[in-house]
Amino acid sequence: MKPKFFALGLMLGLCAGIHAQNPIIRDQFAADPTARVFNNRVYVYPSHDIPAPEGQRQDWFCMADYHVFSSDNLTDWTDHGVIVAQEQVPWGKVDGYSMWAPDCVEKDGRYYFYFPDAPRAGRGFAIGVAIGEAPTGPFRLEAEPIRGVAGIDPCVLIDDDGAAYLYWSGMGIRGARLKDNMTELADELQTVATPQGGTVQVGGRQMEGLPEGFKEGPFAFKRDGWYYLTFPWVRHENGTETLAYAMARSPLGPWDFKGIIMAEHANRCWTNHHSIVQFKGQWYIFYHHNDYSPQMDKRRSARIERIGFNTDGTIQEVKPTHRGVGITAATSRIEVDRYSALSQGASLAFVDSLQPFRGWFVSLPGKGAWVSYTDVDVSCLGADAYVVARLRANANTRLSIREASVKGKIMAEVPVTVESQQGAFRRDQRGQWLTLALPLSAVPKGCITLVVTCEGEAVDIDWLQFKNKPLYFMPVDAKAAAAKPDERGFIRRWKLMEPLPQDIRSNTVFTDSWLRGKFAQAQQLPTSGKRKWHTLESGDYNVRLFHFAEKWGKQAYGNLFCGTTVIESAEDIEGVRLAAGSNGASIWWLNEEEVLLLAGDRRMVEDDGVSPRLTLRKGRNTLRFALVNGPGLSDFCVRFVDERGNPVTDYSIPSIK
C-alpha cells in the first residue's frame, strides 16, 4: 500500500493548480512533444503539424515551424510563438515542410535547439542546431547541419560528467558523442559508399541490443545510474507504434531491451512519440495522439500521463487517458469529456465537428449512464458555492452530480427543463446548449472524484464548473475592533434588520408622501427584541441588501430594509454632508433627525443625493436608514463628504451592539 499513499501525498501536494487534461495544447496541433525542465518550469518543444498547403502531399506530415510552450503547473500553457521557421534555416529547403521532432537542452547557460529538416541539396533529412540564451530563444541558426548525421528525431543527453550524447533516427537508432561545442560529433566520421556510386560521411553508431522492427524517435535519459533509451517501436507486422525502452549502464549501450511503456493507440493512430521528464518530484511521460484529427493520423496533439518506475529501475506500463495528469480546481472548467471512466453506452463527440479545437462533449444515453472525473480539488469552495453546467437535451431530464461514486452523496441535483409552459413564456430549448446554475446541497472537502449520473432522458454534457458567490458580507463580532470608513469614505459596517416583505410590483409608488408614511413605521422599529438583526461588514463599498435578503429574508424582491450604524468622532466635524445612493427609495436619519430622502424609482448611484450641511458631533452619532424596493437589486452606498465633495474619513465605526 505504500506507493498508493505516496501518490496520494503527491497529489495533495500539487493540489494548488495542476489540472492538465489531454490534449494539453488545445488551439493547434502539437506532435512529438519533447518536455524539458529549465529553472523549475516545463518547456515543451513539439513539432507543429499543420494542414498541408496546396502543392504539398495532403495525406502526409506537414510542419513548417516550431513553437515552444511553457508552464509552471502543467496546466496553463503559454505559447511563446515561433522559434524557428523553415525559411530561416540557412541550409534547409524553404518549402520542405519537414520540421520533424526536435529537442532542446541547456549547457553552461546556453540553450541548444536540435531539429531535423530537409536540406536544400541532396535528399532525406539532416539535423541542425540553433543556439539561444533563453529556453524561448531567440535562437541563432548554425550555418550548416551537424556533419555525419543523416536522419530525424534528435535527442541529446547530457551526462553527469557534462559529456553530451546525440541520438537520432536514421536506418535504425544511432548515437554519438558530441563535442563540447554541442554542434559537432566528437568522433571521426566514416566514409561510406552510397548505392548511387558516391560516398557519404557517416558518424555515430547503431545502438545495439534493440529489438527487430521499425524504430524511431529515440529519447534517452538517466535515472539512478541507469541510462534509458526509449523509442517508438512497431512490434507486429503491419502494426502501429508502441513506446518501448531499453536500459544500459553506459550512455551508448549496449542496451538491454525491457519492453513496452505504452501499447499501440487503440484507434490505430500510426505514430507515437514521447519524452520523459521529472518535474517537482514526479516523472511524467509526454506523448501524442491524433485527438483533434480523428480521420487523419498525421495531425497530432500532445498529452501527458504520470509514469512510475519499479524498484529495479524498470518502467511501469502507462495507459493513455483523456483525463491526463494533475488536480483540477473545482472553480475551473471541468471538461468531463476528458473523463476518467465512462459507463457502458456513454460516448464522446465533438461539440462542432467542423471545428475540433472547440473540444468534445459526453453523451449520457439515459438513466443509469454516468461519467466520472478524478482529482477535483473542491477545498476552494465555500458554503454558498454553486455549480454551473453546460448541457443539451431533447427532452426534460435530470442529472445528479455526486461525490466519489455512482451511488455517492449528491452534491447537486440538476433539473434540465428544455420544454415548459411557464406563465406567458413558452420555453422550447430542445437540442440547444444551455448553461444552468444550481446551488449545491452538499459541499465536500479536499480532492474528490466527481461522478455525473443521468437520472432521466438522454443528456449531453460539455463542461461543469463550480463557483463561489462573492463575499457580500462578513459577520462582525461584538468584540471586534472599531472600523474605519473605506478609502473613499464609504461606510461598510452596519447592523441590518432581517427584511420585512412588502407587496410592491412597481417602484413608481415611491412618492415622498408614501415613503414618509412607510418610513415613519420603520423608524419606530427597535434594534433589539423579536426581529433579528445582523451586524455585518459589506464586502464592497455598496451594501448589497439584495443578497442580504436572499440569505436572511423571506423573499429576495419586495422588501423594507432597516439598518443602523455608529459614527464615532474625536471632535465636532462641521459642514459635512451625508451622500447616499440607493436602489430603491431610502431615508436617512442622523441622530434621529431626517437628513435625506431619496424618493422615486432610484438606482444606486454614488453621491446621488446629499443632505444639507451637518455637524458630526464629538463622540457617538447614530446613523439610521430605511430602504424600500420592489423589483431590482436592492443596495445602497453612503458616505460623508466635505464642501468640495471629497470623502470625510476621520472618524471610526465602533462595533455596534
Binding site: 454553486y386 444552468l436 463557483k467 454614488e606 431590482g632 437589486l633
Partner: protein, 483 residues
Amino acid sequence: MKTSRYFLIALCMQALSAEAQIGQPYIHDPSTLAECDGKYYTFGTGGGGLISDDGWAWHGGAERPGGGAAPDVLKIGDRYLIIYGATGGGLGGGHNGRILTMWNRSLDPRSPDFHFTQPVEVCASDGLEDQDAIDPGLLLDPTTGRLWASYGTYFGSIRLIELDPTTGERVRGNVEKDIAIDCEATDLIYRDGWYYLLGTHGTCCDGVNSTYNIVVGRSRSVEGPYLDNVGRDMLHGGGRMVIAAGGRMCGPGHFGRTVIDEGVEVMSCHFEADFDRSGRSVLGIRPLLWRNGWPVAGERFRGGTFEIASERRGYALELAVDFVRIQQERERFWNMDLSKPLKAIPDQSLEEVIGAWPKGEIAVRCGDYMFRPHQLWTLTPLDERGGYLSNPYFKIVIAGTDRALAATADLELTTTPSFTGADEQLWRVEQLTDGTFRLMPKRIPGQQEPNTRYVLYSAADSTPTLAEYDFSSDNSKWTFRDK
C-alpha cells in the same frame, strides 16, 4: 373660435409629424441603424424589425430569427454581424442569459443572399451571479480593428467582452470585464481618441411613466474606466445625460450612433411612449452633437421663421432686392429730450416692400442682418415628400410669401415666385455635430441622382452658392436665428 380650433389641430398635426419618424415605427430596443442596398434597417426585441427607404418613413418587415431581446447589428466587410440576447432579462424566468452572434450577407428578406448563419453563443450569465447576459452592443474599434461587445442590465454589472471580427466568436481566453452598473441597453462608440459607453438609465416598460434616459461615460481605453463629466466611474453609477424625455415623448433608450457624413451624425433610440401615438414605443432619430468631447442629442429641427445666418461671416441670407429705408423721426443723441415718451418703431412689413420686388425669379445674396422682410425665411416640413434620417424635406420661402429658395442647374441659387414642389425646391436640413446646420437641395436640376454633395455654401461673405459640402469649412455651415 372655429378658426383657432382648426389652428390648434393644425399645430398638433405638425407636432405629430415633426416629432418622430413616420409610418409604423413601432419598436422596442432598436439596434444601431444599418444600411443595406440603399435601405435602412433596425431590429428590436422580439423577432422582427423595421425597414425604411429614406430613413424618415418606417415600416415593419425586417426579419431576425432567435427571438429574445435587444439585438445590435454591425456591418463588417461585406457581411452583417447580428448579436442578440436569446433570453428575456428575467422576464421569461431567471437571469440565465445567453448572447449569440450570427452573420448575414444581406438584411433584405427578399434578397437571394438573405441567409442567417447558425448562431454562436459568445457569453452567458449563469443565473446565480449579479449579471444578466442580454442587451449587447457592438464596437469595431477603428484604431485596432478589434471587435468588442458590452452587455448586461440593471441586474448586476455591464460587462465587456472581445469577439473575433472574422468569425463573430468570442476571442479565445478573453475574460469578461465589469465596466458599469445601474444601466442597461449599453452601446460603445469611439470618437477622436475616446471610447464612450452609453447606457440607459431609469425605468423601462411603464408606458408614459417610463423614466428611461441615456447617459454616457468615456475612457481613453476601451476597457475603461468609463468616467462621467464629474469624474465618477460608471461602475459607481456615474453617467452624463445624452437625452431624456422631451417633445411629447418620454423614455429614450437603447442608443445607436450613425455617422452619415463627416460632421453629420444621428443617434437612434426608442422612446418608451409617444404621447401623440397612444403612448406606443417608437423609433426615434435625433441629430447627435458633440460638445467639449461629450455626445448630446440635438433637438429635432421643426422649421419656423428665422434668419439664416452664414457661419462664415454671420451675414444673413436675403433676396437681392433694393434695401428699403425705414423713415424715422431722428433725434440727435447729444441733444435728446428725455422728457418725451418712448415709442415703438414698427418692423418693416412685407406689404411695404413686396410691391417693389421683381415678379419673376429673384437672386439671393448675403448681407447685414436687419430683420427686414427680404431676410426672413420660413421653413416648413413636407411629410409627403419623403425625407432622410433626421427629418422630412423642407420648403424654404420668404416669410409671408410663397417665394421659394431653389437650386439651379449651374449650381447657383435663386428664388422662384411660387413653390412648385420641384425637387430643387426641397431642402434637406441637417444639424451638424457642432450645432450648426447644412442645407442641401434634394436634387440639382439636370442631374439624375438625388443630390448628396452640394450644399448652401458661402462662396464669399456676400455670395451664397451651391458647392461641395466640407465640414472643415465654415462656408458649408449655417445657423437659424430667431427673428
